[in-house]
Structure formats: structure tokens, C-alpha cells
């Protein structure tokens, strides 16, 4: 092999390594990570919630962040799905003991996925992650409560295997 050939081969190897590194970096940037929410996620969560519900609820999220992110009241879990520095979805739940006379169980009270990122299994990954957290907290059941007309989110929970539980929600107008 001539010197010129060797030099070309070395360049090719270097180019190959650089391409591999940049592919690995791009894979890492595109990888989905599910982690506990941080105070810095506040603006993204408020914006995502507003995009989905059409309502800006800054005060509500301020209190939720104070309770579940800053003070980390356990056992409660506020998880976000992040890809490439962008929050694509979140799920929040806590463990409630002896509510309605039932043994401790996990309650999911918020789940949202950015509309453009739906149908890709992100909601399932968030739900699986919070169920793992509930299991680690020692509970064996997960519950949620939804409006009857919320067909989209009802269908999501049904697809995760949730069925009607042992309670019936009742209400009356007292005004």
C-alpha cells in the first residue's frame, strides 16, 4: 500500500468514525426519555396543557409544581416525556390510602400528549412508567376518573386495560 493509499484509508476511517459519532449523537438527541418533572419544565407544561385544553391555567400549574415538583410530596409522581429538549407529554398521579375505604392505590389524574406526537405509543410509555412507580410504592391497583364525554382519553385508559372499578361517582346541585 502506497503512502497516498494509507493516507486515503486513514481519512476514510476518520470520516467513518465522525459519521458514526454524529449518528449516535443524533440518536441520543432523538431518544425519548421519561423522567421526573423539573421546575424548568413549568413553561413547557403550561403551554402543552393550553394547546390541548385551550385553557391557560398558570395558577393551577404553579400549585401543581409547588406540590409535586418543588416539595416532591411523596408518594406522588409527575413524569414528563422529553425528546430533543422538547416536552412531548406528561402524566401525574399519586398514591391515595384508604380513600372510599379501599387499600392504597395509584390514582392518575392528568395525562397529556402533544397532539402531533399521538398514536406513537408515547401515552403508553408514560402510563407504564407511572405504573412502575406505583408498583415500587407498593400498590397493586391503578385508578382514574374521567368525564363520560371524554371519549379520547377514556379510550386511551381502556386500551391500557382499565375497566370500570367498584365505585359510582354521584353528585347533586346544592345551589
Amino acid at each position: 500500500m502506497s503512502l497516498e493509499d494509507r493516507s486515503n484509508a486513514l481519512h476514510l476511517l476518520k470520516d467513518h468514525d465522525t459519521a458514526r459519532e454524529s449518528a449516535a449523537q443524533s440518536r441520543a438527541a432523538n431518544a425519548l426519555s421519561i423522567r421526573a418533572a423539573k421546575p424548568a419544565d413549568f413553561a413547557s407544561i403550561v403551554a402543552l396543557d393550553q394547546q390541548v385544553t385551550g385553557l391557560a391555567k398558570r395558577q393551577y400549574w404553579k400549585e401543581a409544581f409547588a406540590r409535586y415538583v418543588s416539595r416532591r410530596e411523596e408518594p406522588a409522581f409527575f413524569l414528563v416525556a422529553e425528546r430533543g429538549g422538547e416536552i412531548e407529554g406528561f402524566i401525574i398521579g399519586d398514591v391515595r390510602a384508604w380513600e372510599f375505604g379501599e387499600p392504597p392505590c395509584g390514582w392518575v389524574f392528568a395525562v397529556q400528549v402533544r397532539p402531533q406526537k399521538r398514536l406513537g405509543g408515547l401515552g403508553t410509555q408514560l402510563f407504564d412508567a407511572i405504573c412502575d412507580a406505583f408498583r415500587r410504592a407498593g400498590v397493586k391497583k391503578v385508578r382514574t376518573l374521567l368525564a363520560r364525554e371524554n371519549h379520547l382519553v377514556l379510550s386511551f385508559f381502556r386500551s391500557q386495560g382499565l375497566m370500570a372499578g367498584p365505585f359510582i361517582e354521584l353528585e347533586a346541585t346544592i345551589a
Binding site: 398514536l119 363520560r148 364525554e149 371519549h151 377514556l154 379510550s155 385508559f157 386495560g161
Partner: protein, 153 residues
Amino acid sequence: MRLQTSSSIALFAVLELAANPAHQLSALEIAEKYGISAHHLAKVLRGLGRAGIVDAVRGVGGGYQLIANPKRLTLFDVIQVFEPIGSRAAPESSRTVLTDASAALDLVLAELDQHAIATFRSITVSTMLKLMARRASSRQQSSRPARQAAARR
């Protein structure tokens, strides 16, 4: 709560077609598996075809296939082709003599209807397939110890 025979047959057919997306199934194959009348099933499949849920493929090796998206198609979508859900044909209050009792009974029946609609609307064909798979897997698990015990004997 009971479904009309046509609704049940339609659900069986849709689930069978959704579980076999790569194959076209004949009405006879589905009818034999579920022990139902092939004549009645053919009528039901025509109804599902008119509703844009299934399509008939003619010719040798032809049969029916699901054309609706099983992740979006709900039990409600299938049942409502054959019977009204939550719109009772004769509410108590439509009787000639309207009483407080019949109005109160209407309220209770409407509550049941709303629950039925919410349940049927929230369960997709994909979710039903998952439910069936979970049921099959738990049946296998529960029969395994019995088989093992029988083998030890």
C-alpha cells in the same frame, strides 16, 4: 344488558376480521367458528359493508376484510349499525299519562343509557383484541399448574 343478535354477530365478525388482518375470511368460516347462522351473518356483513366497516373481496380466495381502523373503530360504531343505543324507542314519559313516576323512571333509564354509551364509545376493536389476548393468556396460566399436576400423577 343484552345486545340484539345482529349486534353480537357483527361484533364477532369484526373482531375475527381484525384479528386476521392479512386474510380475507368467508362468512362460512366465521359462522362455523362462532356457531352462528351463516345466512344471518351474511346479512349482517352486508350491513357492515354499507356502513364502511368491512369490504367484500370477490373471486377465488375472496372473503371479507376489515377496512375501518381498529384503533379508532369502537363497539358503539358497530352496534349502532344494528340497534339504537341510548335512544329508547318508547320512553316512559311518552305514555299517554305522564306521571312524576314515569318522569323519574326516565331519569334513571337515561343514566343507564349514558353509562352504556360511554362504555361502548370508549372501547375500540384494538382494545377488545387486547382483552381477548389477556384472557387467553390468563386461561393458559391457570391451566398450566393443573396440567403439571396431572403430568406428575
